[in-house]
């Protein structure tokens, strides 16, 4: 398996300029992908709905999110009466951090030989990045829960209660799906999981985990929708029932932080699905052990192509499906995904013994 020929050089080297550049780069990418995503969502939804979509601000309306951000910044900031002011202000930040931080564990491309040393295109070099990922996913509920509770608003409170129960439930399904992936790749290190997915069967079928663990992929994918509060699981904010859900009372910058968090979480989830199931930055027919700069950038491009396909799917689903009712959502999580995931673990275990 892949653990032996791991292409990553690690050592007790001090943190270097290029490492910091990667950190800043990843942060910049996450922050820049959000407006792009918002724009893409609006354009694609317009395409689905026989509309034109935003096309006035900048070329193809690309600067529309920027205009929205400026508008939001200039909006009046209202903290309702009876709100818990401290938590009310803290909640958007708490929602934003985990969503943005999830991207730290993702290996965005093949390691690059720069200045005579290997540079990993990943912020978190530790081999238990997945633990960090799970922890951050769990933390993401706090922002929503606090925000809804602190608003002193009934819709917001119902939304936050829904969100807490939903995120918690689907986190289990997600974790169980992850366990079977770890069993297949025999590692909890994302770099190793990617390395494990290189190569092909019969010359053209890539050895991706989606083919080795299809059930885990489906479970993880559904759970990712639920974790990011996207339709059909957007019960925490479903506008038809709870007006705005947990962010009903939020305005201005605080609202935009929630907004950022939602899209950042969507991006991170898609990155995670790509890394775990779709071979990450690898592609079929890839030369082994290549460390050139151009090659590395090519793998980054491959990675983002895969992520873009997933994001497109996320957006299309959002604009075509109706949403679940709350009990049905819990039903799906607890009675379908979790037993299926447990069975999948057992099956994977048995298969590994053979």
């Amino acid at each position: 398996m892949g653990r032996g020929n791991r292409p990553v050089v690690k050592g007790d080297k001090a943190i270097r300029f290029w490492d910091i550049a990667v950190v800043i780069g990843v942060f910049a990418v996450v922050m820049q992908i959000v407006p792009l995503l918002v724009w893409a969502e609006r354009r694609i939804s317009a395409l689905i709905q026989d509309r034109v979509g935003p096309n006035r601000v900048g070329p193809f309306g690309l600067f529309q999110p920027l205009a929205d951000a400026i508008k939001l910044l200039f909006k009046e900031d209202v903290i309702p009466d009876g709100a818990d002011r401290f938590l009310f202000v803290l909640a958007p930040a708490l929602a934003f951090f985990p969503a943005a931080m999830t991207a730290t564990v993702i290996p965005f491309g093949a390691p690059m030989l720069i200045g005579g040393e290997m540079l990993q295109l990943q912020v978190c070099r530790g081999n238990v990045g997945m633990m960090l990922f799970m922890a951050l996913t769990g933390l993401s509920v706090y922002g929503i829960a606090f925000g809804g509770w602190a608003s002193n608003n009934k819709y917001a409170m119902l939304g936050s209660l829904r969100a807490s129960a939903q995120v918690l439930s689907y986190e289990i399904a997600m974790g169980i799906a992850l366990v079977s992936v770890f069993m297949t790749s025999q590692s909890v290190d994302l770099n190793t999981i990617v390395a494990d997915q290189t190569g092909t069967w019969m010359g053209f079928v890539p050895k991706w985990n989606v083919l080795k663990q299809p059930l885990a992929f489906v479970i993880f994918f559904i759970a990712a929708f639920a974790e990011t509060n996207r339709l059909p699981f957007d019960l925490a904010e479903c506008e038809a029932e709870l007006v705005g859900g947990y962010h009903t009372e939020y305005s201005s910058m605080k609202f935009s932080l929630f907004f950022l968090a939602e899209y950042a979480a969507m991006f991170s989830s898609c990155c995670m699905i790509t890394t775990l199931f779709l071979g990450g930055w690898s592609f079929p027919g890839m030369p082994a052990g290549e460390t050139g700069k151009l090659f590395s950038l090519l793998t980054v491009a491959v990675f983002f192509t895969k992520v873009a396909v997933l994001l497109f799917f996320f957006i299309v689903v959002r604009w075509t499906l109706p949403r679940f009712r709350f009990d049905q959502l819990m039903h799906l999580g607890w009675k379908t995904l979790i037993p299926l995931g447990l069975a999948n673990i057992a099956a994977t275990g048995v298969a590994a013994q053979l």
Binding site: Q49, D50, L158, A240, V243, L321, R325
Partner: protein
């Protein structure tokens, strides 16, 4: 927490309590302005008290100070999603009061426009239902189709939403030359749209889960609440005024009265979809031979002469003057009449009392939304907040019609 909130679970002081939750008047799910005062236990609705009257226009009272032709404009504002059906229903009621026989061409044109209005209303209702369940795109798809219908309405009546199309004894004007091809094009094109909507929803597991068994009402309840229209037919009662008490020659058209067995939100959706197809069937038959001739009854004591002859014919101008000018107008005999038509939401009835003057002595409308809305608490009790939204859009409450 008020002392009046009852304890619903557990004993003593440790029980959970219900919460009062207002849905509306400013809520995304209350299309128009409705107010539902809900008592929820967790997310389960213990009780609902609907409050109405936010869009009260008082047009029943206004009618007492207007002549019959003037009131047609007000009837647009009733169920503004299908103003044509209101126009036609009201004109028919007054014609019955006056004893006017309308021309064959007028009858067929009224049938065509009434069915187009019904298609518009049902399409929108299905779209809104999908939207309230979260499928936003379907609502916009139906909006696009409605715009195409509105183009036809505009060509025929001059207005898109508020059509004010009929006149007592006929129509405001004859249809334009390209009316028949335009409607034919729509009739050919629209089944594809219905298929598309069905493709999106019929086998969608989430949609089925959200609608089957939700807001179900038994046959007995439906009848005792006086429900009509798609809601009643979704409870398995094949009652359609076009069949039960035909008007405008509906008895000559071959169409089915679709029913569904369960009386839940899904049945209502199915009935509405089936009715779209039936309306298309009626349209096809009606389009086959539209009689030629005038659209307005020749009895000019009641019916308005057409504009061309007003400008060119002295006698017509005098008639026009006698019908239109203030202090003039026809006077029906004293008496009262109840006339009803099948509106998109159900039985749209008009009760008119005439005291022999130019204005009605009393006018009362039987609005289908209002009667249908009375069964709302029964439908949602014991269901979740999400179901409330689904039920509300399946009733298709139009606030203008509800509050009058």
């Amino acid at each position: 927490m008020s002392a009046a909130t009852p304890v619903v679970a557990g004993k003593g002081t440790l029980g959970t309590r219900t919460m009062k939750l207002n849905i509306g008047p400013q809520h995304p799910a209350t299309h128009g302005t409705l107010h539902l005062e809900c008592e929820v236990d967790g997310e389960v609705i213990v009780d609902v008290i609907p409050h109405i009257g936010f869009l009260h226009t008082g047009f029943e009272k206004l009618a007492e100070y207007r002549s019959y032709n003037q009131f047609i404009t007000l009837s647009d504002r009733l169920n503004y999603m299908s103003s044509l059906n209101n126009n036609i229903g009201f004109a028919m009621a007054v014609e019955e009061l006056l004893g006017i026989e309308i021309t064959p061409r007028c009858r067929v044109l009224r049938v065509i426009m009434a069915e187009l209005g019904r298609i518009g209303d049902h399409a929108l209702s299905i779209g809104l239902q999908a939207m309230d369940l979260g499928a936003f795109s379907i609502m916009l798809w139906t909006f696009v189709e409605r715009e195409k219908l509105y183009d036809i309405f505009e060509a025929v009546t001059g207005g898109r939403l508020t059509t004010s199309w009929t006149r007592i004894g006929g129509l405001s004007r004859d249809v334009p030359d390209d009316f028949v091809p335009a409607v034919k094009k729509f009739v050919d094109y629209f089944p594809g749209v219905v298929d598309e909507i069905e493709k999106m929803l019929n086998r969608n597991r989430i949609f089925l889960k959200r609608t089957i068994g939700v807001g179900a009402l038994s046959k007995q309840d439906a009848i005792s609440h006086g429900l009509t229209g798609p809601l009643l037919r979704a409870c398995g009662v094949a009652y359609d005024i076009r069949r039960a008490n035909p008007y405008l020659g509906y008895e000559k058209y071959d169409f089915d009265v679709p029913t569904a067995p369960d009386g839940d939100v899904y049945s209502r959706y199915k009935v509405r979809i089936a009715e779209l197809r039936q309306s298309l069937r009626i349209l096809e038959q009606a389009m086959e031979n539209i009689p030629s001739g005038p659209v307005t009854a020749l009895d000019t004591k009641f019916a308005l002469p057409d504009k061309f002859s007003i400008y060119n014919d002295m006698e017509a101008l005098i008639h026009h003057f006698k019908l239109i000018m203030h202090g003039h107008g026809f006077k029906p005999q004293a008496g009262e009449i109840y006339s009803s038509t099948e509106g998109p939401n159900g039985e749209l009835g008009w009760f008119i009392v005439s005291d022999g003057t130019r204005n009605p002595y009393r006018l009362r409308c039987r609005p289908p939304s209002f009667i249908n809305y009375t069964a709302m608490p029964k439908m949602v009790r014991g269901q979740m907040i999400s179901d409330l939204v689904a039920v509300m859009s399946s009733i298709n409450v139009i606030a203008g019609e509800l509050d009058r």
